[in-house]
Symmetry: C2
């Protein structure tokens, strides 16, 4: 294993992520990854010291980038509705960029979480939950979101609707990430039922808690 020459590492990680996402982590053999990369299984161990560390590197790379964008949104001081819109849009952009990593995270994180090595998945999920819950509660208090819904249920609802998209989304499809985000947000916020009369909606909260 070597630390320099990060380009080849990156290539191999990309193909590994692709195979992991398609077959599942446990069902993927290192020989299968090596095949996809055009080398032999043992050669992978020149670059990485275990199959698990490949997975680790894929997930941390994804989460680091995601949190970079999330933190920027959360620090921007937007209103609740705008924060949700920005978070969802960033999420779909992340699915567009790191589809394989997102699919792996979606599929394996629940089991990996129990291993100490992947404890950061738990931390990330809790930060994630706090950020969303706080935003939703802020929106309820400001009168932007409905108060008659279980906030935690709403959180899971919004979170899941966003991330499961990684299971069917294919980059280069007919809809851009931004367009998908727009339609998803429209469904989540306004609902799929038709309004009897089109209604004005102000983006500024009616009341504001300081």
């Amino acid at each position: 294993m070597v630390s320099a020459a990060p380009e080849r590492r990156h290539e191999l990680l990309a193909t590994a992520a692709e195979v992991f996402a398609a077959q599942g982590y446990n069902a993927t053999t290192v020989r299968r990854i090596a095949d996809a990369a055009g080398i032999l299984a043992g050669s992978l161990y020149y670059h990485f010291d275990s199959k698990e560390s490949m997975l680790d590197e894929i997930l941390t790379g994804f989460l680091d980038e995601l949190w970079g964008r999330y933190d920027a949104v959360l620090a921007a001081g937007l209103g609740p509705r705008e924060t949700i819109e920005a978070l969802v849009t960033e999420s779909f952009r992340e699915i567009d960029r790191h589809r394989a990593a997102v699919a792996i995270y979606q599929k394996e994180s629940r089991q990996l979480r129990e291993q100490p090595r992947f404890g950061y998945l738990d931390d990330s999920q809790q930060r994630f939950e706090r950020a969303w819950l706080r935003t939703l509660e802020r929106g309820v208090a400001a009168g932007v979101f409905r108060a008659d819904l279980d906030v935690r249920l709403t959180y899971r609802f919004v979170r899941d609707t966003v991330w499961v998209a990684a299971s069917w989304y294919r980059p280069g499809g007919q809809h851009s990430p931004e367009e998908i985000a727009r339609q998803y947000l429209s469904m989540v916020l306004e609902g799929v039922a038709l309004r009897t009369r089109h209604e004005r909606r102000d983006t500024n909260p009616v009341t504001r808690t300081p």
Copy 2:
């Protein structure tokens, strides 16, 4: 392997489903299943002829029951909105009853679909998609659902939001399946954004295509 005495089979399938759901199918060893059942690995092969056939039986059992309920709903001649509501409610009831099987289906069906043995997963998914798409289009034509949304995107949206609930739902929690279905439907249909003024909504479509 024996065909009679279906009670023990059923017990073993239930524990197998639980382990499959928790660890993933490929990551689950037959020894792990046997441990959970309190017997040894080889003894499982008195009841079943392979690990794969256990999975098969779990999934077909789940799908058969699900389609029994779905067909009843689809044959009831309900309006589009009521059909969606009934389908979603039945889905959450199914998650309540067969949580493990649903979780397995959710996690493994995409990979299993490619094997000929599990081709029925494809058929089921296509029936599923047709039923939902038809109902949504019927609703759009009747003026019950919004016409400005991509119907296929809406379908995936509704489908995913329902079934991913299997990944966090635990029977005996504080919300009943019906209550979760009610809140989910409220979010999907009306949206999480607050209406500026509460609006009357008639359950009967404004216009009706015969």
